[in-house]
Amino acid sequence: SHETGEKIPRSFVIGRGKLPVLLRNLEQDLRKLMLPHTALHLKESGKNTLKDFVHVAGPLGVSHFVILSNTKNAPYMKVVRSPHGPTMTFKVHDFCLAADVARALLRYRAPPSIFKNPPLVVLNGFNPAEAHLKLVTIMFQNIFPVIDVKKVKLSLCQRVLLLNYDKDTKVIDFRHYAISAQPVGVSRGIRKLVQRTKIPDLRTLNDVSEFVTKSGYGSESEAENESSRVTLPQDYGRGNPASQQSAVKLHEIGPRMTLQLVKVEEGLCSGAVMFHEYGIEENKKKNKKKEEPVDDMDVDMDGEEQHEEEEEDDDADYYRQEVGEEPGEGKRNFTLLRQVPCF
């Protein structure tokens, strides 16, 4: 609870099961994304179950979990609201680490100061008429703290998380950018002089006037869309005073993902399945996701073990659809999976 009077939502980003190195890096990148209201150096051992995290989350005031896990098919990401909340399971089609982005860009800038404040979040294309999409928007909107419009300092909004939904492919693009503003209408030399702390090197110039006139009126990209120009209501960093025109620029930092919402469950990795991408009617019953070697809940809703034998057929169908193989065929024996002890 802070100036808005509402609780700041905190999160844990954890991995379940044995994750390959890339996914561990992705987990670290996601932790950086959720800063400052997350445990950056959370230590998890193999013996920790989800129940432990839930018990610890209560007193610490942690409200959300982001859980990464890996299967033969694809990695999965679950976003969970802590004590009894809904669980959304996303399949990660592709992902890209912050380090990859850094290597790909010519000038990668992610100074540690921008991680001192939570990011803004922008969602596009989520049709609120569809209940599962609405749930996704509300979940992502509430993972980050509320912004008090009157008291917020614009210069503290330095990052943004973009989520774009494509209704044809049903895929969500997940992008993370850093925001910067540049004053508009001044020549490049002056702009750089104002924005940077460095004193320019005038060695090569004959006259001071050359400094102003030599560098043209901005690079080719300057003559870009007018929509990025805004009149700032407050000062934004160096050289962008209030009530002046500035161009807002985004620099990509952080991981990129393409996600697909697969499942929405009522409880914390348990409970009734409210929505399933592959729309199997039988899966509306209480169902565990068999692929993931995840310990779902000693805190079961109403004794799920009783239902297991009944659902064998459905599970087989489901497995077939999901993995694309017959249940018994793969390296792992399907029947064995259910007996694998929790991680």
Binding site: P128, L135, I138, N142, V146, I147, V149, V230, M274
Partner: protein
Amino acid sequence: MGCLAIDLAEIVCANSRYFDELVDLIPPKFYLPADDNVEKQWVFGMTKREKREARRLTKEHSKKARRDRLDPEKFVTTLQVLQQRNEVAEAHAEKEEEDEEAKAEENGKGDAEQAPVAGTERVKSSQELRERLHKRIEAIRAERRINKARDWQERTKDASKKRKKSENKTTQANKRQKQGHKETGIVPVSSEKVPVASDMEFGRVKIDSQKRTLNRKSKEKLLEQATKLQKDIQDTEKGKDVASKHSWDAALSRASGQKVFDNPKLLKQSLKREHQRREKSAKKWQDRHDSEAQRAQEKQQTRASHIKERIDARKQRLIAKVCKLVTLIDLTLLFTPQREKKLMRPGFEGRKAGFLNEAK
């Protein structure tokens, strides 16, 4: 003589040029007197808002002036500023002359019809003046009232009404959110409207403080509701619809941070816990109460015993004192012959002189 005149003109021109150049060297701030257009504002008569406005205007004015000063296109020398001011002054003077002439003409017309009307003219004009004065006063009063009303508004009831209105708007916004409409984004402070695609949604924004926890139902009521809900779900006819609707509503409100109490088992547990806590605290209170009574009793006992001891001690002291006194008294005064006789009379059993047989 002629060449002298020419020389004189030249000399005068040269001198004038020289002085002009000298004047140009001095910045206009120092050379020219302060601009009389900026009236001295009487600060003490202004309200807070006016003062704020005045301050803001002076700030903007000074910023603008600084920018103009440094702007190379707007550069003016001292002489040019002087010329401009002179022109303005001339224009003013001309206008005033015209007005005076116009007035003089009117008066002149009046004068033509002179004699009998002279007195009434003057009276009329004084009446007019009075009327004008009254109008002026009314106008000022009206302005003051408006200003006062506005200030008062800013501080008191109307302000709270406005707050309530804005609260209503935000609750409406919440309702709209639940129905799945667009949510307001981060509102820029300026009045500029940023065009936003209809599909875009942004992070949560707090516009105005709302009332929190309007009506928290008691746990018993929640338990009743939860069990009723469970029963409805069990009911096979409409159970599925009820279940799905409830699960979606619960998921949405849980995702947005509100607590949903729909599990009767957990509610029972919490009720039990509360009951136990209450019992425990009642027991503690009872124990404390009892121990307090006991302690009071003990204290009374010790007090009584101490008092008794004090009394006894006092008595002892008295006896000791009396003994001491008695030792000091001359006891021979007690044994006077009369008394001895009385005590030694035969048959008296109080004192004996000894036995008759006793050898003296």
